[in-house]
Symmetry: D2
Subunit: 409 residues, 4 copies
Amino acid sequence: MTDSTRPAVNKVVLAYSGGLDTSVILKWLQQEYQCEVVTFTADLGQGEELEPARAKAELMGVKPEHIFIDDLREEFVKDYVFPMMRANALYEGLYLLGTSIARPLIAKRQIEIAKMVGADAVSHGATGKGNDQVRFELGYYALAPDIRVIAPWREWDLTSRSRLIEFAESHQIPVSKDKRGEAPFSTDANLLHTSSEGKVLEDPWDEVPDYVYSRTVNPEDAPDQPETITIDFERGDGVALNGVAMSPATLLAALNDLGRKHGIGRLDLVENRFVGMKSRGMYETPGGTIYALAHRGIEQITLDRGAAHLKDELAPRYAELVYNGFWFSPEREMLQAAVNYSQEKVTGTVRLKLYKGSCNVTGRKSPHSLYSEKVVTFEDDQGAYDQRDAAGFIKLNALRLRLLGRRDR
Amino acid sequence: MTDSTRPAVNKVVLAYSGGLDTSVILKWLQQEYQCEVVTFTADLGQGEELEPARAKAELMGVKPEHIFIDDLREEFVKDYVFPMMRANALYEGLYLLGTSIARPLIAKRQIEIAKMVGADAVSHGATGKGNDQVRFELGYYALAPDIRVIAPWREWDLTSRSRLIEFAESHQIPVSKDKRGEAPFSTDANLLHTSSEGKVLEDPWDEVPDYVYSRTVNPEDAPDQPETITIDFERGDGVALNGVAMSPATLLAALNDLGRKHGIGRLDLVENRFVGMKSRGMYETPGGTIYALAHRGIEQITLDRGAAHLKDELAPRYAELVYNGFWFSPEREMLQAAVNYSQEKVTGTVRLKLYKGSCNVTGRKSPHSLYSEKVVTFEDDQGAYDQRDAAGFIKLNALRLRLLGRRDR
Amino acid sequence: MTDSTRPAVNKVVLAYSGGLDTSVILKWLQQEYQCEVVTFTADLGQGEELEPARAKAELMGVKPEHIFIDDLREEFVKDYVFPMMRANALYEGLYLLGTSIARPLIAKRQIEIAKMVGADAVSHGATGKGNDQVRFELGYYALAPDIRVIAPWREWDLTSRSRLIEFAESHQIPVSKDKRGEAPFSTDANLLHTSSEGKVLEDPWDEVPDYVYSRTVNPEDAPDQPETITIDFERGDGVALNGVAMSPATLLAALNDLGRKHGIGRLDLVENRFVGMKSRGMYETPGGTIYALAHRGIEQITLDRGAAHLKDELAPRYAELVYNGFWFSPEREMLQAAVNYSQEKVTGTVRLKLYKGSCNVTGRKSPHSLYSEKVVTFEDDQGAYDQRDAAGFIKLNALRLRLLGRRDR
Amino acid sequence: MTDSTRPAVNKVVLAYSGGLDTSVILKWLQQEYQCEVVTFTADLGQGEELEPARAKAELMGVKPEHIFIDDLREEFVKDYVFPMMRANALYEGLYLLGTSIARPLIAKRQIEIAKMVGADAVSHGATGKGNDQVRFELGYYALAPDIRVIAPWREWDLTSRSRLIEFAESHQIPVSKDKRGEAPFSTDANLLHTSSEGKVLEDPWDEVPDYVYSRTVNPEDAPDQPETITIDFERGDGVALNGVAMSPATLLAALNDLGRKHGIGRLDLVENRFVGMKSRGMYETPGGTIYALAHRGIEQITLDRGAAHLKDELAPRYAELVYNGFWFSPEREMLQAAVNYSQEKVTGTVRLKLYKGSCNVTGRKSPHSLYSEKVVTFEDDQGAYDQRDAAGFIKLNALRLRLLGRRDR
């Protein structure tokens, strides 16, 4: 059954979730490529037990020293989510990029393991229609230009669910009951978000059924009392919730709890995939939604206008790069350098109110505030601002328009 | 008392609200400039009776034929609000530009009246610290490059509230009781929004007191049942609510009612003024908030990715231009030309859910939809998309990163 | 020999130059696809006889009514070169996009012919490493989404020059003597430019040999006397040379003659291809170089600063889109709408001096000039500009920097 | 004669050239402000003797310890010119910003001196119509937010040349003969460039008279033989000429000599000033023109496409900021951070040919080259690039255009 045209592979590191699809891939790799499979399972806060993945891998003959299960939660939030949040990145104006931002970290760790165990290939379970294949593979190639990439979904003939399950059964891969029927949609989860797409979501006119949501309560079921919280920032990153210092992942997890409780961060979106099609997704980003808004809040008083507006103009590009999988690219890193430069004084406290699906900044303060009550006041400002300056300011801003008006109007 | 250094003015058109400030200005202009004053009062949907302005103007000696009261609501929404909404403009990521977008229309109408009545000057009641003076005057100068502009707040010595009231009283200008004490904040209103700033809002850490809001109920007091609505768009502009065709201003007014009822569109913001300072404002944009989200919703299925992403990159610049008062500028008009070009097929229906301060798109459909269920489906797509194409797509997107990786990593 | 896995093709329109490569393709298509081949040969001013292409096509059995030879020179300059010049597009800061801009027109005409003759496929002779395949095919797909595209260089096994010639000889395709040896480089030519790449140019440190240039004299051999010319523009497009009205293609051809004579428009460039690699090219754009500079010259006095700077910011993106083959894309068309809007008053005359490889604007005038000697003069300007306005202008521009300085410095 | 409304000034640091204008200012400051004047004269490579400035200042009563004459040439090139060149900044597509880039350094040094000598004010000799006043003063305010700025040209009544000379003569300020008549134009010079504007240049249709040029020979008088040179770069900055290591200022000076000899770097421009008017200037940037082209040359092989294109999109904004005087602004510094990040591997050698006014890159090489002959070759690449990948690449890039085409065409 081995395809003799396939190039020889010695050892492959598979991004392995322990689920049905990647278990089938594991077996298929062993069989088709006759190669040793190394599994890598990342804890990114998806909220699933990971040890069963170890057992399953062992069952399928993966050597114990070839089973990697890593807790990457702190690295994920500190080195991926927070830098992206500094940029106020929103894809297509609305989406907080929860799936996109996790892929480069998985790719990076997979390559590290490949180097460690001397693997010559890596593999993943993303399909050929989606963005994730691009994100994984651009990461692989950027970090290990000569690595061999195996993307089973683009290669094999298991193109329907039933053939996949048939393969699993004929290879003694356990199939849980709920996988036998067609799942009504497909999901991805990590500490930042849960996404769902496909199946019952495929008609963008149909409302997302309530059972699709898993990370947030329905706003209608959220508490009737608003809850007020504070987040402290230091140099652009969150460091405390309600005055209690927390590590990045701990902070995001705590915000997730708050967001879940108040039904915050649901998004029904039709977006443009990098591969050229539109897709409809449902996203839940409870903590991230609160965090993103809070970050803007602290920037409002600590960032100069020039910096703020430049950031606003660069943000769509930054978001596009992350979405398209170009995390490990010089241009994303250049934008990050600019963004990071701006965050030096983005330090202070933001107060927010959470209530039945909505989240609003209600106050912000900072030792580095650029807001000057003395200058802005309607009262006597004692010379802090000379209103007559405005006359000249307007006159010279108007000069080109006047010359134009004389010519054209 | 006339300042002999002031250049002679024959006739001045004043943007006149009928309130205390512009009434004092009216009198002051007559006195200081010894000139004829023409008043112009615009109905932009601010929700105030305008006829009292006529009576007051007459009382101060303005000739009946020099009193202009115009209903500009349809023009405001059709030619200013809607074109701006087509651009998805948000100032500093959050603000829907409710005040900024009204100023150019007032300026334009003032200049038209000036030409009609042969006036050589125009005047407004905006202070020397704010953005509005800039917006008014850039409009004046663009449309009538040689007009004379009188900005009393930058000229006179009535620099405190008590001196203003003293002047009013000594000139028989009626002062309503509530103007005698210090107003706790200052407001601006039109069909798109109400803004408040100053006084009790001046400390950006203090929560906005509930009595500052006037256009929306507190979300906590909003109905316990969500309400679902639809908005129809044609070529980028809203044309119907719940299937009922409406004119632009009627549609926005109806959305305002819905937004008010559900507590939608409140924004507490610290923003950067064009004149160089930060200020804290509270905005209520009930209908506009719903409309803006709906517009993004219909674009999601009708705009190509290239168009959508270009729009996203241009939007911050567009918003900055509107905010800074450059509505009548070649660069805003160029951006508008690009944006308008993109809206040709932005036609269809969006469904939204309104609930206790939040507003979410729950469905969108269009006869010009670019969303293809056939292409995106997880099921067998019968050749609509060949997953193997993705391999080459990724390989060539990765090529430069691989060359880079070989050099650097 | 026919590959049975190839989908059936009935009739294919081939972009046919009459040269060796496309003649081999013609034959190969007939043989491999067993289909009728329609040839299309465009006169884009490449300066070659086109009738021989007809004879060759007939010789290979193409029906006379299936041989299309069209003079597209005027359309090329008027609808492609000029609009691009309005945008001041320069790829990577230097390249005038001579090859890129011709491809969409060829693609468009090919599709028109395909529709006319009822063809179900199109084909071209671009290789799998270059940009041209992308430009052709994006054009095809945009204009005829369901057309079948055959790119022989990506399909066949004629992967070396000798195999190509072998195929030609075994199929009675005439091979001119100079094609038998390895050509030292490959070229493309049209009315805007000639490009050369490959072979002797492949090491970017080696100087381009003089024999590679064909469109311009070596500047050292150019006349010792400078020549002064004028170009008249109307609404952004050139309309006359030295006061003599000319059609677009005639004007560009006349400028080419001038550029050739004075050695103008040579460019040695290492550029980034869309497919991910760097390549080294040599370009000669004699007339286009003069024209582009002249266009900037007339814009200098007729474009407002706001319009000019927005154009400068959009130009790299526009150039990238054209280079990458996205001429028929909404985003290029949106940018064009913005650019075109700006050109309404770009009318007037530019004077240039041509001398031994260099070209400089030495004067410009316009009935719509925005340059005001009265305002700018060092002499007494009689109140056209009040220098005291500058104080307020600076003060308010400085305000945010002062607030920042108080905090940070 | 002292204006009693002027605020008291104790000590002022004047940017002093030793010329007529700033000598008059020196005296006027002493007289009008009754304050101590400190003079600061910078050697930025303008090519003038600076010691006469000392003598003149002493003559007018400036204390020896209050006379500062600093050689800032190395700092100028290293910390201002080179960082700007890394960004490939060109104002309005053509101008290398020679005047703009010198102003922030002068401002910075003036503020340093003010702090050293305890001055409470600074002053400069720029007029109220130009950009330089803005550049100086934005620099002052950014670095010393509470400094007092005296701009005599915006204050005094010496508004004509004859009144200025009259003032000079009545105060024993020596007036050189050539200053008595009207100078035919005004100039600024430093190591990067010489600019001229005004008077005989005021009509943008008139050709710049030959006597206006001072830094370059007329190309027609340049050597008949081309000269070939090499420049070495390290991390984005020039470090050697023809293999000889040089400091930044030495390198630029040597390039100036070469540029002068070959007539390189003349530019006749109508530009848009920040204060709102158009002006016509003549610039000579001999060494800078060569350097800028060489920098692009080395970037061509060492910068990745993503980095290069992002730089191209940011460059117009960067140039605008420098031109407008916002060197010391967060947004310029953010852009610089992005640019600097990109320059890490911009190391190598560029070869250029100089000939009668033109300068062209003829070769470039680098130990960090990203150019891969193996990938790009027309010959057999032995698998470095799989041409079939291009099919998928094009197919997915085309997908959205096809969906669009199906809808619209």
